[in-house]
Amino acid sequence: MSENGAVPRRGKVLTLDTMNASVKKVEYAVRGPIVQRAVQIEKELKEGVKKPFDEVIKANIGDAHAMGQRPITFFRQVLALCTYPELLDDNTFPEDTKNRARRILQACGGNSIGAYSASQGIECIRQDVARYIERRDGGIPSDPDNIYLSTGASDGIVTILKLLVAGEGRTRTGVMISIPQYPLYSAALAELGAVQINYYLNEEKCWSLDISELKRAVEAARQHCNPRVLCIINPGNPTGQVQSRQCIEDVIRFAAKEGLFLMADEVYQDNVYAEGCQFHSFKKVLFEMGPEYSSTVELASFHSTSKCYMGECGFRGGYMEVINMDPDVKAQLTKLVSVRLCPPVPGQALMDLVVNPPQPGEPSYATFIKERTATLRALAEKAKMTEEILNTVPGISCNPVQGAMYSFPRISLPERAVQEAKAKGVAPDMFYCMKLLEETGICLVPGSGFGQKDGTFHFRMTILPSADKLKVLLNKVKEFHQRFTQQYS
């Protein structure tokens, strides 16, 4: 040490070695390396670098507005009024938008959406959410006290997982997640140090859930952990299947028998396209199964403003409803929620509008219905187009996109390609997607980011680009696949 003070020692305080080790396992494919490369390519194109394509088409993330979907006028009008209430005397805004805005503002501190709100969410909005759920589920009661508003659905999902993960070693909590899955779950489980229990969806049967597979997974898991949670995404991400009512009943029975807490991710509940498919909420089915189940099975269901026909990802609106939670556990949940600060108030306001849309007779009703119908119809058409075009490609097989916003087709890769990928230390479908990106400018996410049966390969693409762009994309994928297959055969 020198006389006039210490000389700083060498080396950083925070390095990979000194850092929290469980953080290193956290990955997030949806915005992973392939997306970073896509952004880089976009930059290169802007700088005038010549490429075999003019633009990058990002079909990697479920961001509807980024791909040109229009917001719902009514929602944006009310939000603008809430934001700048001086506009309440502007006669270009329909009367119903003003009524909604006033109601929301009255519930905010100082009538400002910039004020604090209670951690669980603004009370009158939770009441509105409860009423929406009752209407949706044919009158089955919903208690506002069981509603927790959240920063998107992800926040609610991570909070519940945090609540449920406990134990050490062999008693460590095991959480069942479907493979393929939405990587938020695996990332959260890695971070919490929970045991991930994979159950495989059945690709041959349109990605449906087999109870026998659930059974297999839970029994194997009991050897090394304590399975306590079963997560299900319906409609599915990335697989797009809409579970039948029978299937939901079977899952509930299974959860009851095995003593599992059910987490039902229902953020795509309005995105149902296929003939004969219908969204059945877990809660509704649960209650219609009678008190043996409805008073015992524990359930948390999640919704968000990011998907469906709203596509308002940037507002981070969401909620969860918890059913049959042990009161002590619920008290812990309320405590956990109050430790974090409130969900964004604009997102809460938006959630309020989603559960309280214009009604027949109101000035905004006609436009609202028109916009919502158009958006959902466009998605349904694109879902069909995607399935049809991809199924014309030898080596690609695509299950019907029954709902949600994605397609998860299976791709067969020549053995030589698989070997080359392995030699490069890259998953074969990542290798494929990287090449696709470099050659066509299309950004998809490799199936390895979502999980898949060993030896199978997939990619996930969104159906969000405009119909024209989507057609271009699908045909380019077709051409690429044929080229790729030839190149590596």
């Binding site: 000389v7 925070l14 917001p71 603008a80 910039g114 134990g167 990332a187 940037g314 974090r340």
Partner: protein, 477 residues
């Protein structure tokens, strides 16, 4: 009954602030007032949080105009929105994916906003360069702090990560630290010296910590919350040297930098001081500094907007930090719009400048006036003393409580200042936070209340407090 009774011990151990009890009582009192039940006061005044909007301080017009136009772009053609607000909205919409603020912001935040923030930092710091890629936009400072704690906290038993935390502080951070399983290593600010940070005290805290945890980080709040301290450049240099010598990661919470009271006090950022100290400090000391739109004159707490600037971090660690920012999202677009305005407000010559500067100045004048009144009134009350409030949104007033109060509180099983606050709430209709919730030296008692309130209300508060205090002290003398 449910099988799900086993909860992680870490979740169980989270203690809700005792404030919850006061807040429930406050809610009941409000209900009783509405029902017409007579009390010694007409209405309840809640100064427990720093939420200035809920106390009637208005949002900044320019900010809300820009946000409204971004929400509903038809307003880009409306003369209800001034030209410069429309222009700003246009440029933010151009920077949004698909031209809509409903799209996910890119990782790290909207490029335009990151650049604005970077320029803001450079201007603020007299030209010290700032790199947009080392700035991450978040849903506020707490989220960013939590992500850092996730990266930092690990180890078992005596190797468990420790973080030096000032006393007094605020409960959200300590709870987040406990939530992550980190060890809190308190260092006491010196009340007699205006809540100054003293090196001997930092040294003492560090020595005490070694052996039962692995201290890795030093958390400083400047301007202080609730202390109101604004560190001098010299003080900041001392802290930086200390962090360098003892190999501590500096977590610097600067969310109150916009609220400096009076012309005599100047805020200088840790980053600026670090850079101006030159080698070897400027290139080695690891620093994360946090800012937010929730405080200051904006008070846009509900919008959830903030940023963290990372200095001298290991690039590999940055990559992992990025994964968290990726997964947890860069926050809300509304919050980022607010940040853009914070970083790049209307300038002299812009149509909105007169109104903007008038609104901001008016809030600052109110705060300064309140600070002066707090000192003037409360320092004249026997049994109360208040250090100079140089920055921030709180007054943290010391109560010199008679022995009988302390004994009675002990019997009742509550902290003396909590008991004081309960009585203050019931008898004077004032909801404030007891010092035990913020941390304080053993045997000292305080109350904390927000000074971000209209001047007439501050006056009312001070009169009620003065009146209650003398009555209370007489009762227990």
């Amino acid at each position: 009954m449910s099988f799900l009774r086993e909860i992680s011990p870490m979740v169980r151990s989270i203690h809700l602030p005792g404030q919850e009890v006061l807040m429930s009582r406050a809610a009941r009192i409000r209900t009783e007032l509405r029902q017409g039940i007579k009390k010694d006061f007409m209405e309840l005044i809640d100064l427990s949080s720093s939420d200035i909007h809920s106390r009637g301080i208005k949002p900044i017009s320019f900010l809300r105009q820009v946000m409204a136009a971004c929400c509903y772009p038809s307003l880009l053609h409306s003369d209800r929105i001034p030209a410069d607000a429309r222009e700003r909205a246009r440029s933010l919409l151009t920077d949004s994916n698909g031209g809509s603020i409903g799209s996910y912001p890119p990782t790290g935040g909207m490029a335009k906003v990151r650049r604005s923030v970077s320029d803001f930092i450079t201007r603020r710091d007299g030209g010290v360069p700032s790199i947009p890629e080392h700035i991450f936009l978040t849903t506020g400072s707490q989220q960013a702090l939590t992500i850092f704690l996730k990266l930092l906290v690990s180890g078992e038993g005596p190797l468990r990560t420790g973080v030096l935390v000032p006393v007094p502080s605020y409960s959200t951070f300590s709870m987040a630290l406990a939530n992550q399983g980190g060890v809190m290593v308190p260092y006491y600010l010196c009340e007699e010296q205006g809540w100054a940070l003293e090196m001997e005290e930092l040294q003492r805290a560090l020595q005490a910590a070694r052996g039962h945890c692995n201290p890795m980080a030093l958390y400083v709040i400047n301007p202080g919350n609730p202390s109101g301290l604004v560190q001098s450049r010299k003080s900041i240099e001392e802290v930086i040297r200390f962090a360098a010598q003892e190999r501590l990661f500096l977590l610097v919470d600067e969310v109150y930098q916009e609220t400096i009271h009076g012309e005599d006090t100047e805020f200088v950022s840790y980053k600026r001081v670090l850079f101006e100290m030159g080698s070897p400090y400027s290139s080695t000391v690891e620093l994360a500094s946090f800012h937010s739109v929730s405080k200051g004159t904006f008070g846009e707490y509900g919008m959830r907007g903030g940023y963290v600037e990372l200095v001298n971090l290991d690039p590999k660690v940055m990559e992992h930090a990025l994964t968290f920012f990726n997964r947890d999202g860069s926050g809300t677009v509304m919050g980022q719009i607010a940040l853009d305005i914070l970083a790049d407000p209307p300038q002299l010559g812009d149509p909105s400048y007169p109104l903007y500067s008038q609104e901001v100045q008016s809030i600052k004048n109110t705060l300064l006036s309140n600070v002066r009144r707090v000192h003037s009134v409360l320092n004249g009350v026997p049994g109360m003393s208040c250090q100079p409030i140089r920055g921030g949104l709180y007054a943290f007033v010391q109560l010199h409580l008679p022995q009988r109060v302390i004994e009675q509180a002990k019997e009742a099983g509550v902290e003396p200042d909590m008991m004081y606050c309960q009585r203050l709430l019931n008898e004077a209709g004032l909801c404030v936070v007891p010092g035990c919730e913020c941390g304080q030296r053993e045997g000292s008692y305080h109350i904390r209340f927000c000074i971000g309130v209209q001047e007439e209300i501050m006056e009312e508060v001070l009169q009620r407090l003065k009146s209650f205090h003398s009555h209370f002290m007489r009762e227990f003398s």
